[in-house]
């Protein structure tokens, strides 16, 4: 596969993306010889709740990380509200996979939430009462105020995920990108998280989540993006989350019966 071709697509976009929270064009990422994400275009609609779905190893998280600049793509452009990513850090809140950090790190829940205020606090500004109030309010939204002083290593998986979400809320962003927010959390946490995400959407924010539970896609999200290294399909759940597209993305990995049950076309 000639990856060099992809990097030759460096012409500036002619389309108007100013109202688009996140647009990815020609994204190619590779960890070794084989690309994990190949020449993917993705356009996230303003005010949507979008799920990125696809089989294991399909490049879901990789696409998200490359869109955020967390990993360096081989090729591709990212525009955030029509501007380069570099100037838009303040409008994005990213929730990494819970398992990607060391929870034995010596810090408290409240300190993690305060990290969400980094852009406001900068290098040296002091943490004031107003900052603490913001952080506590965010903890309250995820039902974790009682744990503010707790060392993060003492939290359950669901509680850790809530703390990560509280940190994202503290950022006061317009675009929320979450990497598998429901992975390994209890049912109560899943409910709490989806309630918070829906309230964000009601406030006109945009939410994008890498998601792996196909059974909840149509309950939680209104837009869906299917990927298997290459883009399979994107659009409203009602018209895109179909048996045909699922088959194309998952290949033989999902039984036909399963797909029929999940896909909206079969409803």
């Amino acid at each position: 596969m000639n990856l060099k071709l992809a990097s030759d697509l460096g012409t500036p976009p002619t389309e108007d993306l100013s109202g688009v929270p996140l647009a990815v064009r020609g994204m190619t990422v590779s960890y070794g010889q084989k690309p994990a994400v190949f020449s993917v275009d993705m356009t996230i609609q303003n005010g949507s709740m979008s799920a990125i779905i696809g089989p294991n190893g399909a490049g879901k998280s990789t696409l998200l990380k490359a869109a955020l600049g967390v990993i360096k793509p081989l090729a591709g452009r990212v525009s955030v509200y029509g501007k380069p990513l570099k100037s838009q850090h303040h409008r994005i809140a990213y929730v990494p996979q819970r398992a990607s950090v060391d929870w034995d790190f010596p810090t408290r829940v409240i300190d993690v939430v305060l990290m969400g205020l980094y852009r406001e606090l900068g290098l040296l500004r002091r943490v004031r009462t107003s900052h603490m109030e913001t952080a506590m309010a965010c903890l309250d939204r995820v039902g974790m105020t009682d744990f503010a002083e707790r060392q993060i290593g003492q939290l359950s998986g669901g509680q850790q995920q809530r703390v990560f979400l509280a940190r994202a809320l503290a950022q006061g962003a317009d675009l929320y990108l979450l990497d598998e927010p429901f992975a390994g959390v209890d049912a109560a946490t899943e409910k709490a998280i989806i309630a918070v995400l829906k309230s964000l959407k009601d406030d006109g924010k945009t939410v994008v989540a890498v998601h792996h539970d196909l059974a909840t896609v149509s309950d939680y999200f209104d837009q869906v993006f299917l990927i298997n290294t290459r883009k399979v399909a994107e659009g409203p759940v009602a018209t895109t989350f179909t048996a045909e597209n699922l088959n194309a993305a998952y290949g033989g990995r999902l039984a036909t019966a399963q797909i029929d049950r999940l896909a909206v076309s079969a409803l």
Binding site: H89, R98, V101, T107
Partner: protein, 308 residues
């Protein structure tokens, strides 16, 4: 022990020991949490070839070219470690181990091949340093501390390590937030523009500067011990990074002072004739502190892995 003799013979080595210990322990806290503790070990070993090459180039023993040579060698080592990690596809610890042993060995060979015997440059010196020799001959008692003329005679190592310590503190204070965020959560740090890659590199450079300055004064044994032992013991004392830093400074100071005193007087108390190496004793004390922390510190039983 607290009189005239103390000021001229023990005050400067003590201060140099304490400053060197703290300068290494401070960045050591972050290196430890980033699972890069071995990098201090690597840097302190590769300093040797750097110093030898600097000597060969300049032809004389002088602190600044040697420190430059050592700093250059540290950066080369950091680059090599990255390269070996990527090209060899091996884990970071192994890459560090390969790099620093190879470079240290190269330094030893260079030393043997070249005529450095006339000057005070040998492997032993590189390992143990020469803390006891850093005396302040111009001092005549505590009043000398305020006497500019006497102060001009303090060993060069003292102002050098003191300035290095100030630089380390300034770096840690200024970049505290991005350092902490980048150490805890690299992906998030990148997404808020806290520049984790630059922070990681800056931390290694600061550690290298501290190691080189400390090496110059006290040898690599102390450097290696201080990068790891005080921060590791401090981690067992508390679950908050801010307090961990404070504890590591306390442990570094205690190791330096207690180690120096025990080396100088311990053997005499036990009836032996000669004092032992201060550097060796300081490193030993820091190891004992870590052992004690591992046995009785409050956070030693914490659950390391995420509780599910």
């Amino acid at each position: 022990m607290m009189g005239e003799e103390f000021v001229s013979l023990s005050l400067t080595p003590l201060l140099i020991g304490v400053f060197a210990a703290i300068a290494c322990a401070l960045p050591g806290n972050f290196l430890l949490l980033r699972r890069q503790a071995l990098i201090g070990d690597a840097i302190s070993h590769v300093v040797l070839p750097g110093i030898v090459v600097a000597f060969l180039v300049t032809g004389y023993v002088s602190a600044w070219p040697m420190m430059l040579g050592a700093a250059a060698a540290s950066l080369l080592a950091v680059g090599l470690i990255e390269l070996i990690k990527r090209l060899g596809r091996i884990e970071p610890g192994a890459a560090m181990g390969v790099t620093f042993t190879a470079m240290f060995a190269g330094g030893v060979l260079l030393l043997e091949q070249t005529d450095t015997s006339a000057v005070h440059l040998d492997v032993e010196h590189a390992l143990y340093g020469n803390l006891e020799s850093l005396i302040w001959l111009d001092a005549t008692g505590w009043r000398s501390v305020l006497d500019p003329q006497a102060l001009a005679g303090v060993p060069d190592e003292l102002p050098r390590i003191f300035l290095t310590l100030l630089a380390v503190i300034a770096f840690m204070r200024l970049f505290w937030r991005p350092l902490k965020i980048a150490t805890f959560d690299t992906g998030f740090a990148q997404s808020v523009g806290a520049r984790p890659t630059a922070m990681g590199l800056a931390l290694v450079v600061v550690a290298a500067v501290a190691a080189v300055a400390a090496f110059d004064a006290v040898g690599s044994i102390i450097v290696i011990a201080m990068f790891i032992c005080p921060p590791a013991a401090a981690r067992l004392m508390t679950n908050r990074l801010e307090r961990q830093i404070t504890w590591s400074v306390v442990f570094a100071t205690v190791s330096a002072v207690l180690g120096y005193v025990l080396a100088g007087y311990g053997p005499l108390w036990l009836g032996a004739d000669h004092a032992v190496s201060a550097a060796g004793m300081i490193a030993t004390v820091s190891g004992i502190i870590l052992a004690m922390a591992a046995l009785c510190a409050p956070q030693r039983m914490r659950s390391g892995a995420p509780a599910n």
